[in-house]
Symmetry: C2
DNA sequence: TGAATACGCTGTGTATACAATATCGCAGGA
DNA sequence: TCCTGCGATATTGTATACACAGCGTATTCA
């Protein structure tokens, strides 16, 4: 134990998990690289048990992959893996929107969504949008998606959506940031906001099919834009999560 | 250590996980019941570290729930949780079928699916179906769904479908067994088989939307039948997985 | 007699020691 | 020179010990 000071305010497992995730997302650990427990113990300061725990959790999140002979490696993603993940989440959110519409949502429950919508409207009034406003947009957008998911009132579905969003590039914030690299960024944000407006309207009028369709379109748009952004890799370093893309895209 | 003989042929973690899952699914552990590590150590014969590992994995599978103050409890499911889980998997499989259709599948890749289909046809020729044949049907059906999922060639999607099928009542075998309790069981199996036939046809003709629609319908049918089966709880003990349903369905 | 405090026990989180296995390198023989 | 086998080393899997926290109970004081 010696002089290693232990921070008791937060569990060692969580601490190790966060530290490891940072290392992966920041690119300190390259995709495909094997990650050894001992090495992780040194860099995180926790001991082997919590580190192992953290590694297992990160595997579940999808950031790591178990090596059959033992140990873990940083997972590498192809461009298609990423677009599939986004479309996957869109499909799940579509189902959530349909559940919300079919099961009925009170005006009171819809209130936070509408507030979110209005706040984003306010932000988008700026042309061009400032860096600060964009950052607020990312937060509000994530909040909107989370609230929408909750409306489904289906714990199994919510759980699954959370898992699908665990990969940084598949999270609402992730793909908004990817799109921001495009010159048409502002236009894209405005279209996205239009989708948000439509889905609320569809849920209010209990039109399940329409609510579902618009969320899927929302995701498909994101996929198209991500492809564009990857073509002209200009400001792509904006999105550290993309460090996970394997260099040799197949 | 003393006289505890250790089985080295399979990892202790896996052994503990299987033993615990058996206990949960067999109903030895009631839903909502707290499960203590020490108790699990005694019943599984493994030591605390692998047991903890197994508990974490079972939590990820969705069978257990972490208690904030520490420890785990057996998760309880409402009837709606179960039908949502089935519909969720249907939606995911629909996406897989669409991917398969849109991305194209060679005749060679479709071969195993068709063999599966033919084998099931053979089984269904018996009227009424024997217990043995039914058991073969369950296996073949699971195989069909797994093969179909593979055809999507989308690792993220396959991964998600696997997770969605982890809960026993959400797996292909699970809901087939639930439906078997109904008097119209034979008829239901025949309709299901028709769905299988259509999805292969749609994939062959690259009709993504049709392939997707039929898989969703497939799941919706299962949900309807599950509801029926739960109404007249006659042979419901056929499905041990349903031990997880909380007694007071909300 | 009731309430409050203290003590003890059960159980989890963490650390570390030990055992088993896989991989890599080196040496010897074909 | 290449292949194979054996050994050493490194790393994971497993077991257990220790510490701290939460909770229940019992005892004492008002």
């Amino acid at each position: 134990m010696a002089e290693r000071e232990v921070d008791r305010s937060v569990s060692q497992t969580v601490k190790a998990q966060l530290a490891l995730r940072d290392q992966i997302l920041s690119g300190a650990l390259r995709p495909g690289e094997r990650i050894s427990e001992l090495q992780a113990v040194e860099t995180t300061g926790a001991s082997r048990t919590p580190v192992r725990m953290a590694l297992v959790r990160l595997e579940e999140e999808g950031l790591l992959e178990a090596i059959p002979s033992g140990g873990f490696m940083v997972k590498a993603f192809s461009e298609r893996d990423i677009s599939d993940s986004i479309e996957l989440r869109g499909t799940l959110e579509g189902l959530a929107a349909r559940f919300a519409a079919e099961r009925g949502v009170s005006a009171r429950e819809l209130e936070p969504l509408k507030e979110c919508l209005a706040a984003i409207d306010e932000l988008l009034r700026q042309v061009p949008i400032s860096v600060d406003a964009f950052s607020s947009y990312v937060t509000l957008n994530a909040r909107f998606h989370a609230l929408l998911t909750e409306l489904s009132r289906s714990p199994p579905l919510i759980r699954q959506i959370d898992r699908a969003s665990a990969l940084p590039f598949a999270s609402p914030s992730g793909f908004v940031m990817a799109q921001s690299a495009l010159p048409e960024a502002q236009q894209i944000l405005i279209i996205g906001q239009e989708h948000h407006r439509v889905v609320i309207d569809a849920i209010e009028n209990r039109e399940g099919a329409r609510a579902e369709a618009i969320m899927r379109e929302h995701a498909r748009l994101a996929v198209r834009n991500l492809r564009l952004a990857l073509r002209n890799r200009t400001h792509l370093d904006l999105l550290p999560a993309l460090a996970l893309i394997k260099s040799a895209t197949d």
